[in-house]
Symmetry: C2
Subunit: 199 residues, 2 copies
Protein backbone atom coordinates (compact mmCIF):
# COMPACT_ATOMS: atom_id res chain seq x y z
CA UNK A 1 0.00 0.00 0.00
CA UNK A 2 1.33 3.37 -0.93
CA UNK A 3 -1.04 5.21 1.41
CA UNK A 4 -2.97 3.64 4.27
CA UNK A 5 -6.60 4.61 4.81
CA UNK A 6 -7.37 6.14 8.20
CA UNK A 7 -10.48 4.69 9.82
CA UNK A 8 -12.90 7.06 11.56
CA UNK A 9 -15.10 4.44 13.20
CA UNK A 10 -17.89 5.02 10.69
CA UNK A 11 -17.86 1.41 9.42
CA UNK A 12 -15.64 -0.49 11.87
CA UNK A 13 -15.02 0.16 15.56
CA UNK A 14 -11.24 0.05 15.45
CA UNK A 15 -8.24 0.94 13.33
CA UNK A 16 -7.43 -0.53 9.94
CA UNK A 17 -4.58 -2.44 11.65
CA UNK A 18 -7.12 -3.95 14.07
CA UNK A 19 -9.30 -5.08 11.18
CA UNK A 20 -6.35 -6.57 9.26
CA UNK A 21 -5.42 -8.43 12.44
CA UNK A 22 -8.96 -9.83 12.86
CA UNK A 23 -9.10 -10.86 9.19
CA UNK A 24 -5.64 -12.43 9.27
CA UNK A 25 -6.76 -14.83 12.02
CA UNK A 26 -9.41 -16.26 9.66
CA UNK A 27 -7.16 -17.27 6.77
CA UNK A 28 -3.81 -18.44 5.45
CA UNK A 29 -0.99 -15.95 4.94
CA UNK A 30 -1.36 -16.45 1.20
CA UNK A 31 -5.02 -15.49 1.20
CA UNK A 32 -4.31 -12.48 3.40
CA UNK A 33 -1.90 -11.23 0.73
CA UNK A 34 -4.70 -11.59 -1.84
CA UNK A 35 -7.05 -9.63 0.43
CA UNK A 36 -4.52 -6.82 0.80
CA UNK A 37 -4.00 -6.71 -2.96
CA UNK A 38 -7.79 -6.50 -3.49
CA UNK A 39 -7.86 -3.55 -1.10
CA UNK A 40 -5.01 -1.85 -2.96
CA UNK A 41 -6.66 -2.41 -6.35
CA UNK A 42 -10.13 -1.37 -5.16
CA UNK A 43 -8.70 1.86 -3.71
CA UNK A 44 -6.77 2.59 -6.91
CA UNK A 45 -9.96 2.05 -8.95
CA UNK A 46 -11.97 4.19 -6.50
CA UNK A 47 -9.56 7.07 -7.01
CA UNK A 48 -10.33 7.00 -10.72
CA UNK A 49 -14.02 6.06 -10.78
CA UNK A 50 -15.21 7.34 -7.41
CA UNK A 51 -15.90 5.60 -4.11
CA UNK A 52 -15.28 6.49 -0.46
CA UNK A 53 -11.85 5.12 0.50
CA UNK A 54 -12.79 4.06 4.06
CA UNK A 55 -15.88 2.15 2.93
CA UNK A 56 -13.98 0.56 0.03
CA UNK A 57 -11.12 -0.45 2.33
CA UNK A 58 -13.40 -2.14 4.87
CA UNK A 59 -15.35 -3.97 2.14
CA UNK A 60 -12.13 -5.18 0.50
CA UNK A 61 -10.53 -6.34 3.76
CA UNK A 62 -13.56 -8.41 4.79
CA UNK A 63 -14.68 -9.77 1.39
CA UNK A 64 -13.05 -13.19 1.92
CA UNK A 65 -13.44 -13.20 5.72
CA UNK A 66 -15.47 -16.44 5.64
CA UNK A 67 -13.66 -18.16 2.77
CA UNK A 68 -11.88 -20.74 4.94
CA UNK A 69 -14.78 -21.60 7.24
CA UNK A 70 -15.83 -25.25 7.30
CA UNK A 71 -18.92 -26.14 5.24
CA UNK A 72 -20.95 -26.94 8.35
CA UNK A 73 -20.74 -23.34 9.61
CA UNK A 74 -22.47 -22.26 6.41
CA UNK A 75 -24.94 -25.15 6.24
CA UNK A 76 -26.09 -24.45 9.78
CA UNK A 77 -26.81 -20.82 9.00
CA UNK A 78 -28.43 -21.68 5.67
CA UNK A 79 -30.82 -24.06 7.42
CA UNK A 80 -31.80 -21.35 9.91
CA UNK A 81 -31.82 -18.23 7.70
CA UNK A 82 -33.98 -16.80 4.94
CA UNK A 83 -31.90 -18.16 2.06
CA UNK A 84 -32.95 -19.62 -1.31
CA UNK A 85 -34.12 -23.22 -0.81
CA UNK A 86 -31.41 -24.73 -3.03
CA UNK A 87 -28.48 -22.68 -1.67
CA UNK A 88 -26.99 -25.67 0.12
CA UNK A 89 -25.94 -27.27 -3.19
CA UNK A 90 -23.81 -24.33 -4.37
CA UNK A 91 -20.88 -24.71 -2.01
CA UNK A 92 -18.21 -22.41 -0.65
CA UNK A 93 -17.80 -20.26 -3.82
CA UNK A 94 -21.31 -18.87 -3.25
CA UNK A 95 -21.63 -19.34 0.54
CA UNK A 96 -18.52 -17.39 1.57
CA UNK A 97 -20.03 -14.23 0.12
CA UNK A 98 -23.75 -14.63 0.65
CA UNK A 99 -23.58 -16.22 4.10
CA UNK A 100 -20.18 -14.73 4.89
CA UNK A 101 -21.80 -11.29 5.13
CA UNK A 102 -23.83 -12.59 8.07
CA UNK A 103 -20.64 -13.76 9.85
CA UNK A 104 -18.97 -10.40 9.22
CA UNK A 105 -21.95 -8.60 10.69
CA UNK A 106 -22.07 -10.86 13.77
CA UNK A 107 -18.36 -11.20 14.47
CA UNK A 108 -16.90 -7.87 13.34
CA UNK A 109 -19.94 -5.70 14.15
CA UNK A 110 -19.90 -4.28 10.63
CA UNK A 111 -23.47 -3.38 9.73
CA UNK A 112 -23.13 -0.99 6.78
CA UNK A 113 -25.52 -2.49 4.23
CA UNK A 114 -23.47 -1.31 1.23
CA UNK A 115 -20.39 -3.14 2.55
CA UNK A 116 -22.36 -6.28 3.43
CA UNK A 117 -24.07 -6.32 0.04
CA UNK A 118 -20.71 -5.89 -1.73
CA UNK A 119 -19.48 -8.99 0.15
CA UNK A 120 -22.66 -10.96 -0.66
CA UNK A 121 -22.31 -10.23 -4.38
CA UNK A 122 -18.58 -10.40 -4.81
CA UNK A 123 -18.54 -13.75 -6.62
CA UNK A 124 -21.78 -13.45 -8.59
CA UNK A 125 -22.36 -9.77 -9.23
CA UNK A 126 -25.96 -8.62 -9.60
CA UNK A 127 -28.14 -6.66 -12.00
CA UNK A 128 -28.08 -3.71 -9.59
CA UNK A 129 -24.70 -3.02 -7.98
CA UNK A 130 -23.49 -0.14 -5.84
CA UNK A 131 -20.18 1.55 -6.71
CA UNK A 132 -18.53 -0.30 -3.80
CA UNK A 133 -19.93 -3.64 -5.01
CA UNK A 134 -18.56 -3.00 -8.50
CA UNK A 135 -15.14 -2.04 -7.12
CA UNK A 136 -14.82 -5.20 -5.01
CA UNK A 137 -16.20 -7.48 -7.76
CA UNK A 138 -13.70 -6.10 -10.28
CA UNK A 139 -10.72 -5.67 -7.93
CA UNK A 140 -11.07 -9.32 -6.83
CA UNK A 141 -10.74 -10.34 -10.50
CA UNK A 142 -7.85 -8.09 -11.57
CA UNK A 143 -5.71 -7.61 -8.41
CA UNK A 144 -2.01 -7.75 -9.28
CA UNK A 145 -1.55 -11.34 -8.07
CA UNK A 146 -4.10 -12.74 -10.55
CA UNK A 147 -2.71 -14.58 -13.52
CA UNK A 148 -5.00 -15.90 -16.26
CA UNK A 149 -4.98 -15.46 -20.05
CA UNK A 150 -7.09 -12.30 -20.26
CA UNK A 151 -6.10 -10.65 -16.96
CA UNK A 152 -4.15 -7.79 -18.54
CA UNK A 153 -7.05 -6.93 -20.81
CA UNK A 154 -9.43 -7.08 -17.84
CA UNK A 155 -7.12 -4.92 -15.73
CA UNK A 156 -6.70 -2.26 -18.41
CA UNK A 157 -10.48 -2.18 -18.82
CA UNK A 158 -10.95 -1.81 -15.05
CA UNK A 159 -8.91 1.39 -15.06
CA UNK A 160 -10.69 2.69 -18.16
CA UNK A 161 -14.37 1.85 -17.59
CA UNK A 162 -15.65 0.12 -14.44
CA UNK A 163 -19.00 -0.94 -15.95
CA UNK A 164 -17.25 -2.46 -18.97
CA UNK A 165 -14.97 -4.31 -16.55
CA UNK A 166 -18.01 -5.70 -14.72
CA UNK A 167 -19.36 -6.91 -18.07
CA UNK A 168 -16.02 -8.40 -19.15
CA UNK A 169 -15.56 -10.29 -15.88
CA UNK A 170 -19.14 -11.57 -15.93
CA UNK A 171 -18.92 -12.81 -19.50
CA UNK A 172 -15.61 -14.57 -19.03
CA UNK A 173 -16.57 -16.07 -15.68
CA UNK A 174 -19.77 -17.48 -17.16
CA UNK A 175 -17.87 -18.82 -20.16
CA UNK A 176 -15.42 -20.49 -17.81
CA UNK A 177 -18.20 -22.04 -15.70
CA UNK A 178 -20.03 -23.46 -18.74
CA UNK A 179 -16.81 -24.79 -20.26
CA UNK A 180 -15.96 -26.44 -16.93
CA UNK A 181 -19.51 -27.83 -16.55
CA UNK A 182 -19.58 -26.17 -13.13
CA UNK A 183 -22.73 -25.23 -11.24
CA UNK A 184 -24.01 -21.76 -12.10
CA UNK A 185 -25.74 -19.74 -9.39
CA UNK A 186 -28.91 -18.10 -10.80
CA UNK A 187 -27.72 -14.63 -9.72
CA UNK A 188 -24.81 -14.95 -12.15
CA UNK A 189 -27.34 -15.11 -14.99
CA UNK A 190 -29.12 -11.98 -13.72
CA UNK A 191 -25.73 -10.25 -13.79
CA UNK A 192 -25.00 -11.55 -17.29
CA UNK A 193 -28.45 -10.62 -18.64
CA UNK A 194 -28.05 -7.10 -17.27
CA UNK A 195 -24.40 -6.30 -17.99
CA UNK A 196 -23.33 -8.46 -20.92
CA UNK A 197 -26.35 -8.85 -23.19
CA UNK A 198 -26.43 -6.25 -25.93
CA UNK A 199 -29.39 -3.96 -25.55
Amino acid sequence: MSKEVTYTGKYYQGTRADLVDKVSKQMSAKRLQHVLRVEEMALALAEIHGGEAEQVSVAALVHDYAKERPDNDFLERISQGAYPSDLSRFGNPIWHGLVGAELICDELAISDETILQAVRLHTTGAAEMSQVAKLIYVADYVETGRDFPLVEEARALAFKDLDEAVAFETEHTLNYLVTSRALIYPKTIETYNHWVVKK
Copy 2:
Protein backbone atom coordinates in the same frame (compact mmCIF):
# COMPACT_ATOMS: atom_id res chain seq x y z
CA MET B 1 -43.51 -40.41 -42.40
CA SER B 2 -43.24 -44.12 -42.84
CA LYS B 3 -46.31 -44.86 -40.71
CA GLU B 4 -48.92 -42.32 -39.69
CA VAL B 5 -50.20 -42.31 -36.12
CA THR B 6 -53.92 -42.93 -35.76
CA TYR B 7 -55.60 -40.53 -33.31
CA THR B 8 -58.16 -41.93 -30.90
CA GLY B 9 -59.46 -38.59 -29.59
CA LYS B 10 -57.60 -39.01 -26.32
CA TYR B 11 -55.53 -35.83 -26.77
CA TYR B 12 -57.13 -34.03 -29.73
CA GLN B 13 -60.75 -34.07 -30.92
CA GLY B 14 -60.06 -34.84 -34.57
CA THR B 15 -57.78 -36.78 -36.86
CA ARG B 16 -54.07 -36.21 -37.28
CA ALA B 17 -54.84 -34.70 -40.70
CA ASP B 18 -57.22 -32.22 -39.01
CA LEU B 19 -54.49 -31.20 -36.57
CA VAL B 20 -51.86 -30.83 -39.31
CA ASP B 21 -54.36 -28.64 -41.17
CA LYS B 22 -54.96 -26.43 -38.11
CA VAL B 23 -51.22 -26.13 -37.47
CA SER B 24 -50.43 -25.39 -41.12
CA LYS B 25 -52.70 -22.33 -41.02
CA GLN B 26 -50.48 -20.82 -38.29
CA MET B 27 -47.15 -20.94 -40.10
CA SER B 28 -45.10 -20.82 -43.28
CA ALA B 29 -44.78 -23.93 -45.44
CA LYS B 30 -41.12 -24.11 -44.45
CA ARG B 31 -41.88 -24.17 -40.73
CA LEU B 32 -44.59 -26.79 -41.26
CA GLN B 33 -41.95 -29.04 -42.83
CA HIS B 34 -39.80 -28.54 -39.71
CA VAL B 35 -42.78 -29.45 -37.50
CA LEU B 36 -43.41 -32.63 -39.50
CA ARG B 37 -39.74 -33.58 -39.25
CA VAL B 38 -39.83 -33.03 -35.46
CA GLU B 39 -42.82 -35.37 -35.29
CA GLU B 40 -41.00 -37.98 -37.35
CA MET B 41 -37.85 -37.73 -35.22
CA ALA B 42 -39.74 -37.71 -31.91
CA LEU B 43 -41.67 -40.84 -32.94
CA ALA B 44 -38.47 -42.59 -34.05
CA LEU B 45 -36.86 -41.76 -30.70
CA ALA B 46 -40.01 -42.85 -28.82
CA GLU B 47 -39.82 -46.26 -30.51
CA ILE B 48 -36.35 -46.73 -29.07
CA HIS B 49 -36.63 -45.02 -25.69
CA GLY B 50 -40.34 -45.32 -24.94
CA GLY B 51 -43.21 -42.85 -25.24
CA GLU B 52 -46.84 -43.15 -26.37
CA ALA B 53 -46.92 -42.45 -30.12
CA GLU B 54 -50.23 -40.54 -30.11
CA GLN B 55 -49.18 -38.22 -27.27
CA VAL B 56 -45.74 -37.68 -28.84
CA SER B 57 -47.29 -36.92 -32.23
CA VAL B 58 -49.69 -34.31 -30.84
CA ALA B 59 -46.94 -32.64 -28.78
CA ALA B 60 -44.61 -32.52 -31.79
CA LEU B 61 -47.23 -31.16 -34.18
CA VAL B 62 -48.21 -28.31 -31.86
CA HIS B 63 -44.79 -27.42 -30.38
CA ASP B 64 -44.28 -24.42 -32.71
CA TYR B 65 -48.00 -23.59 -33.07
CA ALA B 66 -47.49 -20.05 -31.72
CA LYS B 67 -44.04 -19.38 -33.23
CA GLU B 68 -45.30 -16.90 -35.84
CA ARG B 69 -47.74 -14.98 -33.65
CA PRO B 70 -47.14 -11.23 -33.35
CA ASP B 71 -45.41 -10.08 -30.15
CA ASN B 72 -48.52 -8.29 -28.94
CA ASP B 73 -50.51 -11.52 -28.71
CA PHE B 74 -47.94 -12.76 -26.21
CA LEU B 75 -47.48 -9.49 -24.34
CA GLU B 76 -51.22 -9.20 -23.78
CA ARG B 77 -51.40 -12.67 -22.26
CA ILE B 78 -48.23 -12.11 -20.22
CA SER B 79 -49.71 -8.95 -18.69
CA GLN B 80 -52.88 -10.85 -17.71
CA GLY B 81 -51.47 -14.24 -16.69
CA ALA B 82 -49.46 -15.65 -13.82
CA TYR B 83 -46.06 -15.38 -15.50
CA PRO B 84 -42.65 -14.38 -14.14
CA SER B 85 -42.49 -10.58 -13.80
CA ASP B 86 -39.63 -10.17 -16.27
CA LEU B 87 -40.95 -12.54 -18.95
CA SER B 88 -41.78 -9.68 -21.31
CA ARG B 89 -38.08 -9.04 -21.99
CA PHE B 90 -37.30 -12.54 -23.23
CA GLY B 91 -39.03 -12.39 -26.58
CA ASN B 92 -40.46 -14.94 -28.99
CA PRO B 93 -37.86 -17.69 -28.38
CA ILE B 94 -39.25 -18.10 -24.84
CA TRP B 95 -42.82 -16.87 -25.34
CA HIS B 96 -43.81 -19.23 -28.16
CA GLY B 97 -43.34 -22.20 -25.85
CA LEU B 98 -44.32 -20.86 -22.43
CA VAL B 99 -47.25 -18.72 -23.54
CA GLY B 100 -47.85 -20.75 -26.70
CA ALA B 101 -49.10 -23.63 -24.53
CA GLU B 102 -51.94 -21.37 -23.40
CA LEU B 103 -52.91 -20.62 -27.02
CA ILE B 104 -52.81 -24.33 -27.87
CA CYS B 105 -55.09 -25.10 -24.94
CA ASP B 106 -57.55 -22.33 -25.85
CA GLU B 107 -57.59 -22.70 -29.63
CA LEU B 108 -57.05 -26.42 -30.19
CA ALA B 109 -58.76 -27.65 -27.02
CA ILE B 110 -55.70 -29.70 -26.11
CA SER B 111 -55.58 -29.94 -22.32
CA ASP B 112 -53.23 -32.84 -21.62
CA GLU B 113 -50.79 -31.38 -19.11
CA THR B 114 -47.88 -33.54 -20.30
CA ILE B 115 -48.27 -32.22 -23.84
CA LEU B 116 -48.69 -28.61 -22.72
CA GLN B 117 -45.67 -28.84 -20.44
CA ALA B 118 -43.56 -30.34 -23.25
CA VAL B 119 -44.48 -27.30 -25.37
CA ARG B 120 -43.72 -24.86 -22.54
CA LEU B 121 -40.27 -26.37 -22.01
CA HIS B 122 -39.27 -27.13 -25.56
CA THR B 123 -36.74 -24.29 -25.88
CA THR B 124 -35.41 -24.21 -22.31
CA GLY B 125 -35.70 -27.72 -20.95
CA ALA B 126 -36.16 -28.06 -17.19
CA ALA B 127 -34.63 -29.90 -14.25
CA GLU B 128 -37.61 -32.27 -14.20
CA MET B 129 -38.80 -33.38 -17.66
CA SER B 130 -41.35 -36.01 -18.70
CA GLN B 131 -40.41 -38.53 -21.38
CA VAL B 132 -42.54 -36.58 -23.88
CA ALA B 133 -40.81 -33.31 -22.93
CA LYS B 134 -37.40 -34.90 -23.46
CA LEU B 135 -38.45 -36.33 -26.83
CA ILE B 136 -39.71 -32.97 -28.14
CA TYR B 137 -36.75 -31.01 -26.73
CA VAL B 138 -34.26 -33.37 -28.37
CA ALA B 139 -36.18 -34.00 -31.63
CA ASP B 140 -36.46 -30.24 -32.18
CA TYR B 141 -32.67 -30.05 -31.99
CA VAL B 142 -31.72 -33.04 -34.14
CA GLU B 143 -34.55 -33.38 -36.72
CA THR B 144 -33.13 -34.25 -40.15
CA GLY B 145 -33.40 -30.70 -41.49
CA ARG B 146 -31.08 -29.27 -38.84
CA ASP B 147 -27.59 -28.37 -39.96
CA PHE B 148 -24.99 -27.14 -37.47
CA PRO B 149 -21.45 -28.31 -36.67
CA LEU B 150 -22.28 -30.88 -34.00
CA VAL B 151 -25.68 -32.03 -35.26
CA GLU B 152 -24.53 -35.50 -36.31
CA GLU B 153 -22.97 -36.11 -32.92
CA ALA B 154 -26.14 -34.86 -31.22
CA ARG B 155 -28.34 -37.04 -33.44
CA ALA B 156 -26.29 -40.18 -32.82
CA LEU B 157 -26.46 -39.49 -29.09
CA ALA B 158 -30.25 -39.00 -29.28
CA PHE B 159 -30.67 -42.52 -30.65
CA LYS B 160 -28.25 -43.97 -28.10
CA ASP B 161 -29.15 -42.20 -24.83
CA LEU B 162 -31.97 -39.67 -24.52
CA ASP B 163 -30.77 -38.19 -21.21
CA GLU B 164 -27.27 -37.71 -22.59
CA ALA B 165 -28.83 -36.00 -25.61
CA VAL B 166 -30.73 -33.63 -23.29
CA ALA B 167 -27.42 -32.81 -21.57
CA PHE B 168 -25.55 -32.35 -24.85
CA GLU B 169 -28.19 -30.03 -26.30
CA THR B 170 -28.38 -27.99 -23.09
CA GLU B 171 -24.63 -27.55 -22.83
CA HIS B 172 -24.19 -26.53 -26.45
CA THR B 173 -27.21 -24.24 -26.45
CA LEU B 174 -25.93 -22.45 -23.35
CA ASN B 175 -22.47 -22.17 -24.87
CA TYR B 176 -23.98 -20.68 -27.99
CA LEU B 177 -26.07 -18.18 -26.01
CA VAL B 178 -23.10 -16.99 -23.94
CA THR B 179 -20.85 -16.74 -27.00
CA SER B 180 -23.56 -14.72 -28.78
CA ARG B 181 -24.15 -12.53 -25.70
CA ALA B 182 -27.82 -13.44 -25.98
CA LEU B 183 -30.32 -13.26 -23.12
CA ILE B 184 -30.47 -16.45 -21.06
CA TYR B 185 -33.79 -17.46 -19.54
CA PRO B 186 -33.27 -18.57 -15.90
CA LYS B 187 -34.94 -21.95 -16.60
CA THR B 188 -32.10 -22.77 -18.99
CA ILE B 189 -29.70 -22.58 -16.04
CA GLU B 190 -31.90 -24.92 -13.97
CA THR B 191 -31.73 -27.36 -16.90
CA TYR B 192 -27.96 -26.94 -17.17
CA ASN B 193 -27.39 -27.32 -13.41
CA HIS B 194 -29.45 -30.52 -13.38
CA TRP B 195 -28.40 -32.25 -16.61
CA VAL B 196 -24.92 -30.98 -17.48
CA VAL B 197 -23.09 -30.38 -14.21
CA LYS B 198 -21.07 -33.36 -13.11
CA LYS B 199 -22.40 -34.83 -9.91
